[in-house]
Structures are given as structure tokens and as C-alpha cells.
């Protein structure tokens, strides 16, 4: 089975610091893949490389059978790589609906192509159900800057889904959420369409084990281990790595 996304030998250096040193990764269609590791292991850098906001010094990124290494974030988003940021990135002066419409527009094919406003209307049709699904129907007309943190997180997920992603990059989605909000988030993520592959970076291991079917452990910019959640949970190697990282 071919990979939807694969990285080969990706290396990123910041001065003398090697953030990533030859990482290979493969994510299949619909796979729920988690990326864990101690602080400074290079998880966010790897997400940036896949998302296109960081250029690796070495290595290639392939998506859907094509080399996308030279494409920027916008071009990758149009091909179906969407991302949730560590701090929810929404457009603060736009309403929740407008936020989703903006996110949906690049991948909208209007029914009547040359009809003025057709694209926007189609995007608008897509926004309603997504906001419902994320439990944001009540605040659809509220500027995103006025939403609570948890709501903005949900809004960002709605925006990511509006772009019809084939791969969703989640960068610590539970950061800054209360316990009840994390529960809601887990439900929402579990309810994601099966066709969407997910690459999840998360510190809360309970969430990782609950949501993923494959886990890759990074340490010092290198792949330390990979396997099912059960294998990783019991691996002494991983425990050791975490203990070091925490210490």
C-alpha cells in the first residue's frame, strides 16, 4: 500500500542545532497517526516541514504520489494538507461563519461556475453543517475574536475540514483546554470522516492512545520507535526516553 504522505530523510538545522536529522515517515489514507516525544524532539518542526512553512535543508516530502517539497503552505493546502495550529489561528474580526467560508473557498467548485457569488454561496452552504457539527451554531454570527479559547479551537477544526482535507495536521489541539473541553475535543476528533488522514502531535498520552492507530516516537530529531499504541505504551525504550526528556 502506498503512502498518502511520506517524508524521506528530512533534516532541518537551526545553526548548530539539528532539529530534525533524517526523519522518514509514512501516513496512509485515513490513517490516525500520532507523533510523540519529549520537548525539543522536533515534532512541531516536522509538522512545519509537512505543512510547508519550514523548508528542510535535506530530504523530500511527497504527497499523493507527488513531490511537494518546493511548494508553499498555500499550495499544499490546495492539494489537501490542512492544519490546526498550537494557538488557534482564526480571523478575529470575521464572524465564525465567515471564517469557515474563507477556509472553504480555495477548494470550492461552484455549481454554476460563472454565476457571480456562486463560489461564496456554495462555501456558505458548506459552513452551516460544519458549525453545527462543531457545536458552534449559536455563535455563527459572532466575530471570532470574541469567542472563548475552546470555541476557537473548534472553529479552527471546522475551518480545516471546510478545506476538504485529505490530511489533517493537528498541533497540540488540547493545549489550554479544560478537562471538559478536552473530552469534547476527543469526541469531535473521533467523529472526523474516515477518509481524512490525521497526523496528531500531542503531549497528553491518554488522548494519543485514544485517538490514534499508529504512533511514532521522536527524540532529538530522529525516529526512536514506531508501532501501535499498545506496542508503544509498553515499550521500555519509550518510557526511558520520556523519563530523560522530563528530567
Amino acid at each position: 500500500m502506498t503512502c498518502l504522505l511520506s517524508t524521506q530523510d528530512v533534516s532541518v538545522r537551526y545553526g548548530s542545532l539539528a532539529a530534525l536529522a533524517g526523519v522518514d515517515l509514512c501516513i496512509h489514507d485515513g490513517q490516525r497517526h500520532a507523533l510523540i516525544g519529549p520537548n525539543g524532539a522536533g515534532k512541531t518542526t516536522l509538522l512545519n516541514v509537512i505543512g510547508g512553512s519550514t523548508r528542510p535543508q535535506r530530504g523530500t516530502v511527497r504527497f499523493d504520489g507527488r513531490d511537494v517539497s518546493r511548494l508553499g503552505p498555500a499550495a499544499r493546502a490546495r492539494r489537501g494538507i490542512n492544519r490546526i495550529h498550537q494557538r488557534p489561528a482564526v480571523f478575529p474580526t470575521l464572524t465564525a461563519t465567515e471564517n469557515v467560508v474563507v477556509a472553504a473557498l480555495p477548494r470550492v467548485i461552484p455549481r454554476r461556475r460563472w454565476w457571480p457569488g456562486g463560489r461564496r454561496r456554495t462555501a456558505q452552504h458548506r459552513a452551516g453543517p460544519l458549525l453545527d457539527q462543531m457545536g458552534l451554531a449559536d455563535v455563527a454570527a459572532v466575530p471570532a475574536g470574541h469567542l472563548a479559547h475552546g470555541q476557537r479551537r473548534q472553529l479552527e477544526i471546522a475551518m480545516a475540514l471546510a478545506g476538504r482535507p485529505r490530511l489533517l495536521l493537528l498541533d497540540e489541539p488540547a493545549a489550554g483546554l479544560s478537562a471538559t473541553e478536552v473530552g469534547r475535543l476527543a469526541e469531535l476528533l473521533r467523529a472526523l470522516p474516515r477518509a481524512v488522514a490525521v497526523l496528531l502531535v500531542e503531549h497528553r498520552l491518554d488522548l494519543v492512545y485514544a485517538l490514534s492507530d499508529t504512533v511514532t516516537v521522536l527524540r532529538d530529531g530522529q525516529t526512536l520507535a514506531a508501532g501501535t499504541p499498545d506496542e508503544i505504551r509498553t515499550s521500555p525504550l519509550v518510557r526511558q526516553a520520556y523519563a530523560d526528556g522530563v528530567a
Binding site: 474580526t93 470575521l94 464572524t95 465567515e98 466575530p143
Partner: protein, 397 residues
């Protein structure tokens, strides 16, 4: 407006709109130029703020001096002088002139420092059929039927001095000036006349060097080029702060011993004080000097010195003469001095006695046919001043 416009800003927008309307409707109609009591409205437009305000204030003071010494009357009628600010050029001059012509309904317009401002006001004059007796700037215009100038045409100073420079300079002359219409005309006047009498320019390409205006405050690189050209003399035209910079830097440059000839504005009025010693010995050509010996000039200079520090300039003189022109024209225009009648009367004036000597309007250019003087900056008592050292040509068509 945008979808998420906060409420208070809408209120603000509405308030602003209301303000605009109230401002625009508050400007009422002031009635015609000649009121029932027999007084007459004259508009004076001059730079009273911005770069050229030194010249603009001389122009205002010159006109007001004439009024003050003539009972505030022109042609026997009490004058209501409406002053407006020309600012830095056409962008501000046009609305100010529009106010004078269309709201105040003046019967004649005078002043205007910049040639560009005159060009900008020109369509308005044609539309309102009001004559302009300008006292300074004069652009090239197709139709001068309503335009009169008591000053000069920009190419005349250079044309007047060319023969003198040819006779007295042994060698080629370097021509340099500011890069705008006034500078082009001033320098062209000199170079054309100079070439006609067989003079040779020292400029490497045989063309005048023009310096960015008003951006140039440092003339040192140009002095290096003049030095390299081996010129025996320099002819130039600058005015205002550029004149100060040019003269001061010239005096400290490596060409400080090369004789400097200039259109008189280089050392005229306030700039001479700022230049100080650096201006000593500079030769210049101008249509006026305060030390001219005639009755009109003695009266003019005495009246000026009673009100102001220092001596009057050619700018003040031209404005004083503009008032004199209007005085006689309004008097000759009959019982109903309409703008058209005044304009016609100006054309019939003939010889005009003036502190600069007698002059008259050219029938083709509507600018003075007048004598030009050679002046040199010399010690006069405790101060330096422009001293007349000879008569030059009488110029004008």
C-alpha cells in the same frame, strides 16, 4: 461599508458627513466686486505660508504700501483688498483663487508667486473674465489677453546680461540652474542670448546643468564639475534657500575665485542677509535696485523703510507697481469699473512712472519693456547691499 463595522463608527461617519455638509453650505455668497458704497474688491494671491513665503510677504507688503500711501484708494475708489494664501503651488493656489474669483467676486487679481500657480489659475481667469495683474511668476501662456505682469519674463534677466558677460569674461562660461520651469526659462534666456553674441558655454555637453529642485541642498558635486570644466565664469539663477546654499557653498568651494554672474534673485532681499560675506562681489542683473536715483524711488524707499526693516526688493516693487497699474486703470475705466473695463483700460496705459524708471507694457507679451541694471554686492555702510554699477540693455518686445 464592511460587515462588522462597529456601531460607534457609523455614528462617527454620520457626524463627519453632517460636518462636511454644514461646512460646504456655510460658505455663502458675498455679492459682486463693486458694492453700492463705491468700494472695489481686489484679490491678492501670494504665498504666505510654505517655501516661498518670504517672496509672498514682500508682494503683499508692496501692494499694501501703495494703498497706505494713497489713502487706501485705487482710481478714486476705496479698495477692499481680499488676501488669500497661494501656499506652495498650484494645488493650494487654485482653490484659493477660486474663492477670490467666484465667492469674493473680485474685479481684478494680483500677486501670485509661482509660474505654476499662474498656469493653474489661468483657466479660472478665462472663465470669470477677470484680469490678472501679476507681480512675479509668469509661465508660457497661449492667450495673454487678460494676463498682465509688472515683473518680467523669466528669460529676460539672462538676455539682458549676456552681452556684458561676453564682453567682460575671457573664456567660457558655465551655466547652472534649478531644474524646474523657472530655472529652464531663466537659463535659456541667458544661453540663447549668449550664443547669439558668440559666447561659449563651458558645460561639457554645451547644455546648461540643471540641479534637482528643491531637493538639492548640497552643490559641492556640481562645483567639482565646474572646476573640471575650466570655466572662466559661472552664470546661474537661484532664489530663496537654494540661493543661500549655493552662494555659501560657492564661497567655500574650490571655484570661489571664479567670477559669479547671476539673475538678481540670487542676492535679492532676505537671502542676502543669510549669505553674509559669502555674497560679496557677486554680479547680478535685475530690473530694480533700492539705490536707483529718481524721485519715485526715493519716495518708495522712504515709505518702505518707515514700515519695514531693510530695503524693498524687486518683488515688493513689482507689487507696488501692480497697484499703480490698477490705480490708473480703474480710474480710466469709467463709472462702472467692471473686470472687462479694467482690462481694456490697462491696455491703454502707455508709459508708467515707477521707482525702477519708466516702463510700459509690451503689446504682445503684456509684460514690461524695461531697463535692466548690473549690480554688485558691495559694502554699504555696515551691511552688504546690491549696488548698481551700470546699465544693461532695455529688454521687452
Amino acid at each position: 461599508m464592511s460587515l462588522t463595522t462597529p456601531r460607534r463608527s457609523r455614528a462617527l461617519t454620520a457626524t463627519l458627513l453632517a460636518l462636511v455638509l454644514s461646512v460646504s453650505t456655510a460658505c455663502g455668497d458675498d455679492g459682486p466686486g463693486t458694492s453700492a458704497s463705491g468700494s472695489i474688491k481686489i484679490g491678492l494671491l501670494a504665498s504666505l505660508s510654505g517655501t516661498y513665503q518670504a517672496v509672498g510677504k514682500e508682494i503683499r507688503d508692496g501692494f499694501e504700501l501703495y494703498l497706505a500711501t494713497h489713502d487706501g484708494k485705487l482710481g478714486g475708489r476705496k479698495v477692499d483688498l481680499v488676501v488669500a494664501d497661494e501656499g506652495n503651488g498650484a494645488a493650494t493656489a487654485v482653490p484659493a483663487a477660486t474663492k477670490l474669483l467666484k465667492q469674493d467676486r473680485v474685479v481684478a487679481l494680483t500677486g501670485i508667486v509661482g509660474g505654476g500657480s499662474v498656469a493653474g489659475v489661468y483657466p479660472l481667469l478665462n472663465e470669470t473674465k477677470v484680469p490678472l495683474v501679476g507681480s512675479n511668476g509668469r509661465p508660457e501662456l497661449k492667450d495673454v489677453s487678460r494676463i498682465w505682469h509688472t515683473s518680467y519674463l523669466s528669460e529676460e534677466p539672462g538676455a539682458a546680461i549676456a552681452q556684458h558677460v561676453r564682453d567682460n569674461v575671457k573664456g567660457s562660461v558655465y551655466a547652472i540652474g534649478p531644474d524646474y520651469q523657472g530655472g529652464w526659462d531663466e537659463l535659456r534666456g541667458f544661453t540663447d542670448a549668449f550664443a547669439k553674441v558668440g559666447g561659449k558655454l563651458a558645460n561639457p555637453d554645451g547644455k546648461t546643468t540643471f540641479t534637482p529642485f528643491p531637493a538639492t541642498t548640497n552643490f559641492t558635486p556640481y562645483f567639482a564639475r565646474i572646476k573640471a570644466s575650466g570655466a572662466a565664469a559661472v552664470y546661474t539663477f537661484y532664489a530663496g534657500s537654494a540661493a543661500v546654499d549655493f552662494v555659501k557653498q560657492y564661497a567655500q568651494s574650490e571655484i570661489k575665485d571664479v567670477p559669479l554672474y547671476a539673475a538678481g534673485f540670487l542676492t535679492e532681499g532676505g537671502v542676502l542677509n543669510a549669505q553674509g560675506e559669502a555674497a560679496r562681489d557677486i554680479y547680478s542683473v535685475l530690473n530694480y535696485s533700492p539705490d536707483l536715483d529718481n524721485a519715485e524711488n526715493r519716495a518708495f524707499v522712504a515709505a518702505w523703510k518707515a514700515k519695514h526693516d531693510g530695503s524693498p526688493t524687486t518683488y515688493a516693487l513689482a507689487s507696488y507697481d501692480a497697484a499703480a497699474v490698477l490705480d490708473r486703470a480703474i480710474g480710466a475705466a469709467g463709472s462702472d469699473p467692471t473686470p472687462e473695463a479694467i482690462n481694456a483700460a490697462i491696455g491703454q496705459l502707455g508709459q508708467i512712472a515707477s521707482p525702477r524708471g519708466t516702463w510700459q507694457f509690451s503689446t504682445t507679451t503684456h509684460s514690461p519693456v524695461q531697463k535692466w541694471y548690473l549690480r554688485q554686492v558691495r559694502q554699504d555702510g555696515r551691511a552688504l547691499s546690491n549696488t548698481v554699477v551700470g546699465d544693461l540693455a532695455t529688454v521687452g518686445r
